[in-house]
Point group: C2
Chain length 231, copies 2
DNA sequence: GCGGCTCTTTGCGCTGGCGCAAAGACGCGG
DNA sequence: CCGCGTCTTTGCGCCAGCGCAAAGAGCCGC
């Protein structure tokens, strides 16, 4: 199976590269597969590679000593994984796990850095990507310190819909196996509270959810909750 | 007053530059002063400059529509402010305010980017700095979702001590005007809870605090609380 | 050295959200 | 198509932390 050139061309990390640059990038890539549930790396691992997801979903998370999992990001096709450790030689602050059967392209960190020296655009792209993450994290910190669970859960769903949403006749499907537990780990709450809130929304016709599945029937009402405009 | 060359040399953003590069960097800098309490910029401003703090403290924060303030970072001498907007042309996600009388050096964003093209080391430094922020934000998100207020407050103080701590006969002084309100805005709690917890630590001899002032008498005990090892 | 502003403390009542326990629903694999 | 493992729901009791209100303390400027 050849590397999916079109996908690479649209990957934010490789945006703006000319065809010859793209060819040298692709020449260095190695493909691999990661079945659902498998770990790509653990937090504190020293990584020698940078990955780009080509299919599936890879979850970035941290595990506390007490065993609580916190989901920080979900990378879908076209998104990179392990960028920060590849660029800074520091161990990874997060762990990565496939939540679906996934395919990845990998570059050795040193090869990627060599590419960066030859193509400064890569450096600007990397900065833009890191910057985007910073903004998202700052938003989450603000939400966690100032907002109630219901609002945060609404925001989590809206973020997921924006990133991984799929239009269907019944509404916007979050295209990802997504348990109440996962939702809690993304919103800063517990399994129980997430379940109760989702039940309420179900009754209000805002979402329609099942086992590891959420469909947003009324994105508008969800925005209303996220922005606290209901009353 | 000439630009403080030694400080610039030690600034993470300018690390590893040779003398001639450093000279061209300094040649482009403009100094300015910002009295305590003054705003440098607001969130959503399009910034045309990048700053480095040379004296004082500059607080980066967000304000919610409800009027709650969340403090995301405090930049002291040698730390940059406005790096992300200067590099990405996006509006600033945060506001910045001097919490002490401060002095800054400023570069026009376009001048800085020109310097970056000539000195790739600047790009790597920028990436390392953004990466450091990402790590800190990820840690805070994990703490906010899994830890109790007391632990988070302990961590906040330890972080401040590491960054701005000053050894004194009575202990490590957080060298910054720091109200209970500020502490709450950094830890994700309220003025009242922060006050009560600090009172408890005072009685236990762990800290010694006054009006906008905190001294850590026993960093070790504070670590014990932050790591939840007490019992 | 006085007045006033701001910061801090603390009593009190309240509630959002936690988390156990147990029952119910779903769907995969054999 | 049956059984089992996993995910979800919900009753229930509890408490950490919130936030008002009011008093107290500290500091600055005149």
């Amino acid at each position: 199976m050849p590397p999916p050139t079109d996908l690479i061309r649209q990957t934010p990390l490789f945006r703006g590269l000319d065809d010859s640059a793209l060819r040298s990038v692709i020449a260095e890539a190695r493909g691999s597969r990661l079945p659902a549930g498998n770990i790509l790396f653990h937090q504190n691992d020293a990584l020698a590679r940078l990955w780009v997801v080509t299919a599936g979903r890879v979850q970035l998370f941290q595990l506390t000593p007490e065993g609580h999992q916190v989901i920080l990001h979900i990378a879908g096709p076209g998104q990179e994984v392990g960028l920060l450790p590849a660029l800074t030689d520091a161990p990874s602050p997060v762990s990565a796990r496939a939540v679906e059967d996934s395919s990845l392209l990998a570059w050795r960190a040193e090869d990627f850095r060599a590419l960066m020296r030859g193509h400064p655009q890569l450096g600007f792209n990397a900065i833009a990507i890191l910057g985007e993450h910073i903004r998202l994290y700052q938003d989450r910190i603000r939400e966690l310190t100032t907002e109630r669970v219901e609002r945060r859960l609404a925001r989590t769903l809206l973020r997921l819909a924006k990133q991984l949403g799929k239009r269907t006749p019944e509404g916007v499907l979050i295209d990802l196996p997504l348990s109440r537990q996962n939702l809690a780990e993304m919103s800063g709450t517990t399994l129980y509270t997430a379940s109760r809130i989702l039940r309420g929304w179900e009754d209000a016709g805002i979402v329609s959810s099942g086992r590891e599945r959420v469909v947003i029937r009324s994105p508008h009402k969800l925005v209303t909750i996220a922005e606290d405009l209901q009353r």
